[in-house]
Symmetry: C2
Subunit: 224 residues, 2 copies
DNA sequence: TTTTGTATCATCGTATACAATTCAAATCAG
DNA sequence: CTGATTTGAATTGTATACGATGATACAAAA
């Protein structure tokens, strides 16, 4: 069901699979806050030894999704409602910046790919196929991050994008929002294609702001 | 010589020490780009087995400081001049946001701690003690990040702050810049204390912008 | 000469073994 | 009964063993 995957991540090694598995479980809210993650237990559940589990936990610690107390163990650090709010404020600024940079750097091929995503989005918006729409929304933003041409900015934005996936999923599944969201994507794309950096930046900022407003209107607290 | 250390990082375990060691070496530019990092070699150099080295390399991979090709090995990913430029643009926005949030959240105790740092900075600016000044500069910014009250924002800003440490060190070691920088810190602090969020945001943004301008004036390329 | 096959070797990926640490329950002194 | 101490089970931290993977060199074939 889930094709999304950062290129840098190793989905084939056991460690990579364990990492993705625990990460998804945390980001999808399948653990209570502070749930203890025991190496042996997780290893047994996933049918691997402690070694790859340890490595995965160490990576998650660096991301802040897990807290490790030496000699005591690892605990889940959920993304809180406040985290989501903070991320949206930060993303609003940074996606604006990214759209600006994309205006300066984007290639014709990247433009074509974005437009293809956009067309599919418009099609599935009509069909109210929210599952697919979420995927396309992710894809549009990832293409934007790529087009920004900054590995640093891409890195933080991609992480944030993952962290708020639950909120984004909820948001996109409301009909009025999905329509507006797709329209806003189109507008951002047009501004980039027209090389209007100011407009692209403004639209991208507003788009992110509208998204969080929609999420909060539907109740962020009860989501997280 | 180096007291700085994120609380979350484990400096006592072998893995923690290996992680910090390699990370410092990369951030201080002691490796060529794409240097191959062999688990056994590093382990031998630091007198530990491959296990903690592997865990450290996996963490560095997540940060983007190392690229791991499955079954082939780990390679150094240096921070490039472009990365530094990008980081300063991003930091300019985010430190502004952080100063704004700090204005809303800061406690009296945090204000007192910042002022103490500031006094020491002013003292050592006069003494031209650049080593100490760099440390105090780091401390001021970390206190600001803490005062912002957002673990998410703190996390990204702290990482970025580490990533540009070489540039920051070079910048602070120029007399005119060190004086100006300390003055700007003082101004940001006053704005926060006076609860003037707009002013704090503007000053923080400008401070970061001035820093990168100074660095570029002295030649960023040859630094990295 | 170029290509292809194969042996060898360095290195990684994972499992396992063992040491160190923590926490709590049991024991003991007062 | 209280509080300190000991003991032991559970868990993590580190080292090592072993199989798997991919690189390299060189020989055989085209």
């Amino acid at each position: 069901m889930n094709g999304e995957q950062k290129d840098s991540r190793d989905r084939y090694s056991l460690r990579g699979r364990v990492f993705e598995s625990i990460r998804e479980d945390i980001l999808n809210g399948r653990y209570e806050q502070n749930t203890e993650l025991k190496e042996a237990t997780i290893g047994a559940e996933l049918g691997v030894s402690r070694t790859p589990v340890r490595e995965a936990l160490r990576q998650l610690e660096l991301e802040g999704l897990v807290t490790i107390i030496p000699n005591r163990g690892a605990h889940v650090n959920r993304i809180t409602a406040k985290d989501v709010e903070d991320i949206y404020v930060i993303r609003s600024m940074l996606e604006g910046l990214c759209a600006r940079w994309a205006t300066e750097h984007i290639t014709q091929e990247q433009l074509d790919n974005m437009e293809e995503t956009l067309c599919l989005s418009e099609y599935h918006t009509g069909k109210k196929n929210y599952e697919k729409l979420y995927e396309l929304d992710s894809q549009f933003h990832e293409q934007l991050y790529e087009a920004g041409g900054s590995r640093i900015l891409n890195h933080v934005l991609s992480d944030f994008h993952d962290y708020v996936k639950r909120a984004r999923k909820a948001s996109i599944s409301a009909e009025d929002r999905s329509v507006r969201s797709t329209e806003e994507h189109r507008a951002i794309f047009e501004a980039i294609r027209e090389r209007d950096a100011d407009q692209a930046e403004t639209l991208a900022r507003e788009h992110v702001k509208h998204t969080i407003e929609n999420i909060e209107a539907h109740g962020l607290e009860k989501l997280m």
